[in-house]
Symmetry: C2
Protein backbone atom coordinates (compact mmCIF):
# COMPACT_ATOMS: atom_id res chain seq x y z
CA UNK A 1 0.00 0.00 0.00
CA UNK A 2 2.92 2.29 0.63
CA UNK A 3 3.88 2.66 -2.97
CA UNK A 4 0.30 3.25 -4.00
CA UNK A 5 -0.58 6.56 -2.50
CA UNK A 6 2.43 8.05 -4.15
CA UNK A 7 0.20 7.98 -7.19
CA UNK A 8 -2.80 10.00 -6.22
CA UNK A 9 -4.96 8.73 -9.06
CA UNK A 10 -5.70 5.63 -7.03
CA UNK A 11 -8.53 5.77 -4.54
CA UNK A 12 -8.75 9.56 -4.62
CA UNK A 13 -11.65 9.72 -2.21
CA UNK A 14 -9.99 8.16 0.82
CA UNK A 15 -6.74 9.99 0.40
CA UNK A 16 -8.55 13.26 0.74
CA UNK A 17 -8.06 12.88 4.46
CA UNK A 18 -4.73 14.51 5.19
CA UNK A 19 -2.48 14.64 2.22
CA UNK A 20 -5.01 16.31 0.00
CA UNK A 21 -5.93 18.83 2.63
CA UNK A 22 -2.35 19.98 3.01
CA UNK A 23 -1.91 20.14 -0.71
CA UNK A 24 -4.93 22.36 -1.03
CA UNK A 25 -3.71 24.62 1.76
CA UNK A 26 -0.38 24.95 0.06
CA UNK A 27 -1.85 25.64 -3.36
CA UNK A 28 -3.92 28.40 -1.85
CA UNK A 29 -1.00 29.76 0.12
CA UNK A 30 1.01 29.82 -3.09
CA UNK A 31 -1.73 31.76 -4.78
CA UNK A 32 -1.98 34.22 -1.92
CA UNK A 33 1.74 34.87 -2.07
CA UNK A 34 1.44 35.34 -5.80
CA UNK A 35 -1.21 37.98 -5.25
CA UNK A 36 1.08 39.97 -2.98
CA UNK A 37 4.50 39.36 -4.46
CA UNK A 38 4.18 38.37 -8.08
CA UNK A 39 6.06 35.50 -9.61
CA UNK A 40 9.45 37.10 -9.11
CA UNK A 41 8.87 37.49 -5.39
CA UNK A 42 7.08 34.24 -4.78
CA UNK A 43 9.48 32.08 -2.82
CA UNK A 44 8.99 28.71 -1.21
CA UNK A 45 9.72 30.16 2.19
CA UNK A 46 7.02 32.79 1.79
CA UNK A 47 4.53 30.18 0.68
CA UNK A 48 5.41 28.06 3.67
CA UNK A 49 5.05 31.02 6.00
CA UNK A 50 1.72 31.91 4.43
CA UNK A 51 0.53 28.39 5.12
CA UNK A 52 1.98 28.47 8.61
CA UNK A 53 4.37 25.65 7.89
CA UNK A 54 8.00 25.06 7.10
CA UNK A 55 9.60 25.20 3.74
CA UNK A 56 10.35 21.51 3.93
CA UNK A 57 6.70 20.63 3.93
CA UNK A 58 6.12 22.41 0.69
CA UNK A 59 8.62 20.25 -1.12
CA UNK A 60 7.25 17.25 0.67
CA UNK A 61 3.96 17.72 -1.12
CA UNK A 62 5.20 19.18 -4.38
CA UNK A 63 8.20 18.01 -6.31
CA UNK A 64 9.42 21.53 -6.85
CA UNK A 65 8.43 25.14 -7.12
CA UNK A 66 7.22 24.82 -10.67
CA UNK A 67 4.82 22.03 -9.86
CA UNK A 68 3.45 23.97 -6.92
CA UNK A 69 2.54 26.92 -9.06
CA UNK A 70 1.13 24.78 -11.79
CA UNK A 71 -1.25 23.36 -9.25
CA UNK A 72 -2.03 26.83 -7.97
CA UNK A 73 -3.00 27.75 -11.49
CA UNK A 74 -5.22 24.72 -11.84
CA UNK A 75 -7.00 25.51 -8.61
CA UNK A 76 -7.55 29.16 -9.38
CA UNK A 77 -9.01 28.25 -12.72
CA UNK A 78 -11.23 25.62 -11.18
CA UNK A 79 -12.76 28.23 -8.91
CA UNK A 80 -13.56 30.61 -11.72
CA UNK A 81 -14.82 27.80 -13.85
CA UNK A 82 -17.10 26.57 -11.11
CA UNK A 83 -18.72 29.98 -10.92
CA UNK A 84 -19.59 29.80 -14.59
CA UNK A 85 -20.82 26.22 -14.38
CA UNK A 86 -23.13 27.07 -11.50
CA UNK A 87 -24.80 29.82 -13.47
CA UNK A 88 -24.87 27.74 -16.58
CA UNK A 89 -26.92 25.10 -14.80
CA UNK A 90 -29.77 27.54 -14.29
CA UNK A 91 -29.68 28.79 -17.87
CA UNK A 92 -32.04 27.45 -20.47
CA UNK A 93 -32.31 29.61 -23.56
CA UNK A 94 -29.23 30.30 -25.65
CA UNK A 95 -29.23 33.90 -24.54
CA UNK A 96 -29.43 32.86 -20.93
CA UNK A 97 -26.43 30.64 -21.47
CA UNK A 98 -24.46 33.52 -22.91
CA UNK A 99 -25.32 35.69 -19.96
CA UNK A 100 -24.37 32.92 -17.58
CA UNK A 101 -20.91 32.72 -19.04
CA UNK A 102 -20.50 36.47 -19.14
CA UNK A 103 -21.75 37.15 -15.65
CA UNK A 104 -19.96 34.14 -14.24
CA UNK A 105 -16.70 35.49 -15.54
CA UNK A 106 -17.17 38.66 -13.55
CA UNK A 107 -18.39 37.15 -10.31
CA UNK A 108 -18.09 40.01 -7.81
CA UNK A 109 -16.02 38.12 -5.27
CA UNK A 110 -13.61 36.98 -7.97
CA UNK A 111 -13.36 40.00 -10.22
CA UNK A 112 -10.83 41.67 -7.93
CA UNK A 113 -7.41 43.20 -8.53
CA UNK A 114 -5.42 40.81 -6.31
CA UNK A 115 -6.80 37.77 -8.03
CA UNK A 116 -6.06 39.37 -11.35
CA UNK A 117 -2.50 40.17 -10.31
CA UNK A 118 -1.81 36.59 -9.35
CA UNK A 119 -3.40 35.36 -12.52
CA UNK A 120 -1.32 37.73 -14.59
CA UNK A 121 1.87 36.50 -12.96
CA UNK A 122 0.91 32.96 -13.77
CA UNK A 123 0.08 33.82 -17.37
CA UNK A 124 3.44 35.49 -17.74
CA UNK A 125 5.07 32.13 -17.09
CA UNK A 126 2.98 30.19 -19.56
CA UNK A 127 5.44 30.58 -22.42
CA UNK A 128 8.16 28.89 -20.39
CA UNK A 129 6.10 26.16 -18.77
CA UNK A 130 4.57 23.58 -21.04
CA UNK A 131 2.27 22.29 -18.33
CA UNK A 132 0.87 25.73 -17.69
CA UNK A 133 0.45 26.17 -21.41
CA UNK A 134 -1.65 23.05 -21.48
CA UNK A 135 -3.79 24.21 -18.58
CA UNK A 136 -4.23 27.45 -20.42
CA UNK A 137 -5.39 25.68 -23.54
CA UNK A 138 -7.88 23.66 -21.56
CA UNK A 139 -9.24 26.77 -19.92
CA UNK A 140 -9.71 28.45 -23.23
CA UNK A 141 -11.26 25.42 -24.83
CA UNK A 142 -13.82 25.14 -22.07
CA UNK A 143 -14.65 28.80 -22.18
CA UNK A 144 -15.16 28.52 -25.90
CA UNK A 145 -17.29 25.47 -25.53
CA UNK A 146 -19.44 27.15 -22.91
CA UNK A 147 -19.95 30.10 -25.17
CA UNK A 148 -20.72 28.03 -28.21
CA UNK A 149 -23.36 26.11 -26.30
CA UNK A 150 -25.29 29.36 -26.28
CA UNK A 151 -24.11 30.89 -29.50
CA UNK A 152 -25.06 27.97 -31.68
CA UNK A 153 -28.66 28.95 -31.22
CA UNK A 154 -28.02 32.56 -32.08
CA UNK A 155 -25.72 32.70 -35.06
CA UNK A 156 -24.29 30.72 -37.94
CA UNK A 157 -21.49 28.32 -36.99
CA UNK A 158 -18.86 30.53 -38.54
CA UNK A 159 -20.17 33.64 -36.82
CA UNK A 160 -20.53 31.79 -33.55
CA UNK A 161 -16.90 30.79 -33.69
CA UNK A 162 -15.82 34.29 -34.41
CA UNK A 163 -17.98 35.82 -31.72
CA UNK A 164 -16.75 33.31 -29.18
CA UNK A 165 -13.19 34.40 -29.81
CA UNK A 166 -14.20 38.01 -29.45
CA UNK A 167 -16.01 37.41 -26.20
CA UNK A 168 -13.10 35.57 -24.61
CA UNK A 169 -10.68 38.24 -25.72
CA UNK A 170 -12.93 40.99 -24.46
CA UNK A 171 -13.36 39.30 -21.11
CA UNK A 172 -9.63 38.82 -20.76
CA UNK A 173 -9.02 42.39 -21.77
CA UNK A 174 -11.42 43.71 -19.16
CA UNK A 175 -9.72 41.60 -16.51
CA UNK A 176 -6.40 42.97 -17.61
CA UNK A 177 -7.74 46.49 -17.32
CA UNK A 178 -8.85 45.74 -13.79
CA UNK A 179 -5.40 44.46 -12.93
CA UNK A 180 -3.52 47.33 -14.46
CA UNK A 181 -5.81 50.08 -13.22
CA UNK A 182 -7.88 48.85 -10.32
CA UNK A 183 -11.14 50.74 -10.12
CA UNK A 184 -11.10 51.74 -13.76
CA UNK A 185 -13.75 49.16 -14.58
CA UNK A 186 -16.56 47.88 -12.41
CA UNK A 187 -18.18 44.51 -12.60
CA UNK A 188 -21.34 46.07 -13.97
CA UNK A 189 -19.42 47.96 -16.62
CA UNK A 190 -17.60 44.83 -17.63
CA UNK A 191 -20.75 42.77 -17.92
CA UNK A 192 -22.53 45.47 -19.85
CA UNK A 193 -19.54 45.85 -22.11
CA UNK A 194 -19.52 42.21 -23.11
CA UNK A 195 -23.27 42.04 -23.50
CA UNK A 196 -23.21 45.05 -25.76
CA UNK A 197 -20.53 43.40 -27.78
CA UNK A 198 -22.60 40.29 -28.27
CA UNK A 199 -25.69 42.31 -29.07
CA UNK A 200 -23.75 44.32 -31.62
CA UNK A 201 -22.24 41.31 -33.27
CA UNK A 202 -25.57 39.53 -33.47
CA UNK A 203 -27.26 42.57 -34.96
CA UNK A 204 -24.86 42.70 -37.87
CA UNK A 205 -25.35 39.75 -40.17
CA UNK A 206 -22.49 40.22 -42.61
CA UNK A 207 -19.12 40.96 -41.12
CA UNK A 208 -17.35 44.14 -42.09
CA UNK A 209 -15.50 43.87 -45.37
CA UNK A 210 -12.89 46.42 -46.22
CA UNK A 211 -9.97 46.83 -48.52
CA UNK A 212 -7.22 47.97 -46.18
Amino acid sequence: MSMWNRNAWIDPVKLKRLSEIRRKELRQAAFAVLEREGIAGATLEKVAAQAGASKGIVLHYFRNKQELFEHAMREANAVLCQAVIARLRRAITPMERMDAVIEGNFEPHLFQPPLCHAWLSLCAEVPRDEKMARIQRVIHARMRSNLLSGLRGLASPADADDIALGVTALIDGLWLRLGLQPGSVSREQAVRQVKNYVAGRLAIREPVIDGA
Copy 2:
Protein backbone atom coordinates in the same frame (compact mmCIF):
# COMPACT_ATOMS: atom_id res chain seq x y z
CA MET B 1 29.78 71.24 -16.00
CA SER B 2 30.60 67.98 -14.33
CA MET B 3 27.57 67.96 -12.11
CA TRP B 4 25.32 68.94 -14.99
CA ASN B 5 25.27 65.99 -17.27
CA ARG B 6 24.30 63.84 -14.35
CA ASN B 7 20.89 65.30 -15.08
CA ALA B 8 20.12 64.27 -18.60
CA TRP B 9 17.42 66.83 -19.14
CA ILE B 10 20.09 69.38 -19.91
CA ASP B 11 21.43 69.50 -23.44
CA PRO B 12 19.89 66.15 -24.41
CA VAL B 13 21.06 66.39 -27.98
CA LYS B 14 24.78 66.41 -27.36
CA LEU B 15 24.71 63.74 -24.69
CA LYS B 16 23.16 61.33 -27.14
CA ARG B 17 26.70 60.56 -28.10
CA LEU B 18 27.72 57.76 -25.78
CA SER B 19 25.74 57.63 -22.61
CA GLU B 20 22.37 57.57 -24.32
CA ILE B 21 23.48 54.98 -26.82
CA ARG B 22 24.52 52.59 -24.09
CA ARG B 23 21.33 53.17 -22.22
CA LYS B 24 19.29 52.32 -25.25
CA GLU B 25 21.33 49.20 -25.89
CA LEU B 26 20.77 48.10 -22.33
CA ARG B 27 17.05 48.80 -22.37
CA GLN B 28 16.73 46.70 -25.48
CA ALA B 29 18.91 43.96 -24.05
CA ALA B 30 16.70 43.95 -20.98
CA PHE B 31 13.65 43.58 -23.14
CA ALA B 32 15.21 40.78 -25.14
CA VAL B 33 16.03 38.88 -21.96
CA LEU B 34 12.49 39.45 -20.79
CA GLU B 35 11.18 37.88 -23.97
CA ARG B 36 13.19 34.74 -23.37
CA GLU B 37 13.21 34.41 -19.61
CA GLY B 38 10.29 36.27 -18.15
CA ILE B 39 10.57 38.56 -15.20
CA ALA B 40 11.53 35.79 -12.81
CA GLY B 41 14.46 34.76 -14.94
CA ALA B 42 15.57 38.19 -16.00
CA THR B 43 18.83 38.82 -14.20
CA LEU B 44 21.30 41.66 -14.49
CA GLU B 45 23.97 39.27 -15.59
CA LYS B 46 21.85 37.96 -18.42
CA VAL B 47 21.01 41.45 -19.53
CA ALA B 48 24.68 42.35 -19.49
CA ALA B 49 25.54 39.25 -21.48
CA GLN B 50 22.78 40.02 -23.98
CA ALA B 51 24.26 43.46 -24.45
CA GLY B 52 27.76 42.02 -24.65
CA ALA B 53 28.90 43.88 -21.58
CA SER B 54 29.58 43.31 -17.93
CA LYS B 55 27.07 43.41 -15.12
CA GLY B 56 28.81 46.43 -13.67
CA ILE B 57 27.99 48.53 -16.68
CA VAL B 58 24.30 47.90 -16.27
CA LEU B 59 24.29 49.37 -12.80
CA HIS B 60 26.49 52.16 -14.01
CA TYR B 61 23.72 53.34 -16.29
CA PHE B 62 20.72 52.37 -14.21
CA ARG B 63 20.40 52.82 -10.48
CA ASN B 64 19.04 49.31 -10.05
CA LYS B 65 17.21 46.47 -11.66
CA GLN B 66 13.82 48.03 -11.16
CA GLU B 67 14.77 51.23 -12.93
CA LEU B 68 16.22 49.28 -15.83
CA PHE B 69 12.99 47.43 -16.46
CA GLU B 70 10.90 50.53 -16.04
CA HIS B 71 12.88 52.06 -18.84
CA ALA B 72 12.51 48.91 -20.89
CA MET B 73 8.78 49.24 -20.50
CA ARG B 74 8.84 52.86 -21.58
CA GLU B 75 10.82 52.02 -24.66
CA ALA B 76 8.66 49.11 -25.69
CA ASN B 77 5.58 51.22 -25.38
CA ALA B 78 7.17 54.02 -27.34
CA VAL B 79 7.73 51.69 -30.25
CA LEU B 80 4.15 50.46 -30.34
CA CYS B 81 2.87 53.95 -29.89
CA GLN B 82 4.97 55.22 -32.75
CA ALA B 83 3.39 52.68 -35.06
CA VAL B 84 -0.05 54.00 -34.23
CA ILE B 85 0.99 57.62 -34.55
CA ALA B 86 2.49 57.00 -37.97
CA ARG B 87 -0.76 55.56 -39.27
CA LEU B 88 -2.77 58.21 -37.54
CA ARG B 89 -0.95 60.90 -39.44
CA ARG B 90 -2.28 59.61 -42.72
CA ALA B 91 -5.84 59.26 -41.44
CA ILE B 92 -8.42 61.94 -42.11
CA THR B 93 -11.98 60.81 -41.58
CA PRO B 94 -13.08 59.57 -38.16
CA MET B 95 -13.38 56.04 -39.46
CA GLU B 96 -9.90 56.21 -40.92
CA ARG B 97 -8.61 57.31 -37.55
CA MET B 98 -10.25 54.34 -35.90
CA ASP B 99 -8.72 51.99 -38.41
CA ALA B 100 -5.34 53.59 -37.91
CA VAL B 101 -5.43 52.88 -34.21
CA ILE B 102 -6.71 49.37 -34.69
CA GLU B 103 -4.28 48.38 -37.42
CA GLY B 104 -1.42 50.14 -35.72
CA ASN B 105 -1.98 48.05 -32.64
CA PHE B 106 -1.52 44.89 -34.65
CA GLU B 107 1.48 45.93 -36.70
CA PRO B 108 2.76 42.65 -38.17
CA HIS B 109 6.31 43.02 -36.96
CA LEU B 110 5.14 43.84 -33.45
CA PHE B 111 2.17 41.53 -33.01
CA GLN B 112 4.41 38.58 -32.16
CA PRO B 113 4.45 36.13 -29.26
CA PRO B 114 7.88 37.05 -27.88
CA LEU B 115 7.01 40.71 -27.66
CA CYS B 116 3.75 39.78 -25.99
CA HIS B 117 5.53 37.55 -23.50
CA ALA B 118 7.88 40.31 -22.44
CA TRP B 119 5.03 42.74 -22.22
CA LEU B 120 3.04 40.35 -20.10
CA SER B 121 5.92 39.94 -17.68
CA LEU B 122 6.17 43.67 -17.36
CA CYS B 123 2.44 44.04 -16.78
CA ALA B 124 2.59 41.42 -14.08
CA GLU B 125 4.90 43.72 -12.13
CA VAL B 126 2.75 46.80 -12.46
CA PRO B 127 0.88 46.26 -9.21
CA ARG B 128 4.13 46.34 -7.26
CA ASP B 129 5.88 49.14 -9.09
CA GLU B 130 4.33 52.55 -8.86
CA LYS B 131 6.41 53.91 -11.70
CA MET B 132 5.29 51.15 -14.02
CA ALA B 133 1.73 51.77 -12.95
CA ARG B 134 2.12 55.36 -14.02
CA ILE B 135 3.55 54.41 -17.37
CA GLN B 136 0.65 52.05 -17.78
CA ARG B 137 -1.84 54.81 -17.06
CA VAL B 138 -0.19 57.04 -19.59
CA ILE B 139 -0.30 54.35 -22.21
CA HIS B 140 -3.96 53.74 -21.65
CA ALA B 141 -4.78 57.42 -21.60
CA ARG B 142 -3.09 57.94 -24.94
CA MET B 143 -4.76 54.96 -26.49
CA ARG B 144 -8.09 56.25 -25.30
CA SER B 145 -7.38 59.68 -26.61
CA ASN B 146 -6.37 58.31 -29.98
CA LEU B 147 -9.57 56.34 -30.19
CA LEU B 148 -11.74 59.21 -29.09
CA SER B 149 -10.26 61.44 -31.75
CA GLY B 150 -12.00 59.20 -34.21
CA LEU B 151 -15.00 58.13 -32.19
CA ARG B 152 -16.19 61.62 -31.41
CA GLY B 153 -17.31 61.93 -34.99
CA LEU B 154 -19.13 58.62 -34.93
CA ALA B 155 -21.06 58.37 -31.69
CA SER B 156 -22.41 60.35 -28.78
CA PRO B 157 -19.81 61.29 -26.17
CA ALA B 158 -21.10 58.71 -23.73
CA ASP B 159 -21.11 55.97 -26.34
CA ALA B 160 -17.70 57.00 -27.60
CA ASP B 161 -16.31 56.64 -24.11
CA ASP B 162 -17.82 53.25 -23.70
CA ILE B 163 -16.71 52.00 -27.07
CA ALA B 164 -13.20 53.25 -26.47
CA LEU B 165 -12.99 51.14 -23.33
CA GLY B 166 -14.27 48.15 -25.22
CA VAL B 167 -11.79 48.57 -28.03
CA THR B 168 -8.81 48.84 -25.71
CA ALA B 169 -9.95 45.82 -23.77
CA LEU B 170 -10.54 43.84 -26.91
CA ILE B 171 -7.13 44.73 -28.28
CA ASP B 172 -5.46 43.76 -25.03
CA GLY B 173 -7.42 40.54 -24.93
CA LEU B 174 -6.37 39.61 -28.43
CA TRP B 175 -2.75 40.28 -27.55
CA LEU B 176 -3.12 38.11 -24.51
CA ARG B 177 -4.53 35.34 -26.63
CA LEU B 178 -1.54 35.58 -28.91
CA GLY B 179 0.77 35.32 -25.94
CA LEU B 180 -0.98 32.40 -24.34
CA GLN B 181 -1.61 30.44 -27.51
CA PRO B 182 0.69 31.59 -30.25
CA GLY B 183 -0.86 31.01 -33.61
CA SER B 184 -4.40 30.95 -32.32
CA VAL B 185 -5.05 34.41 -33.68
CA SER B 186 -3.59 36.05 -36.75
CA ARG B 187 -3.07 39.70 -37.30
CA GLU B 188 -5.87 39.75 -39.84
CA GLN B 189 -8.25 37.99 -37.52
CA ALA B 190 -7.42 40.41 -34.76
CA VAL B 191 -7.96 43.46 -36.92
CA ARG B 192 -11.20 42.12 -38.29
CA GLN B 193 -12.36 41.24 -34.82
CA VAL B 194 -11.92 44.76 -33.51
CA LYS B 195 -13.41 46.34 -36.61
CA ASN B 196 -16.45 44.12 -36.32
CA TYR B 197 -16.76 45.14 -32.73
CA VAL B 198 -16.76 48.80 -33.60
CA ALA B 199 -19.19 48.26 -36.44
CA GLY B 200 -21.51 46.35 -34.16
CA ARG B 201 -21.41 48.94 -31.44
CA LEU B 202 -22.01 51.77 -33.86
CA ALA B 203 -24.95 49.98 -35.44
CA ILE B 204 -26.79 49.68 -32.15
CA ARG B 205 -27.88 53.08 -30.96
CA GLU B 206 -29.24 52.24 -27.53
CA PRO B 207 -27.11 50.01 -25.36
CA VAL B 208 -28.54 46.77 -24.10
CA ILE B 209 -30.64 47.16 -21.00
CA ASP B 210 -31.40 44.18 -18.89
CA GLY B 211 -32.52 43.44 -15.38
CA ALA B 212 -29.87 40.99 -14.20
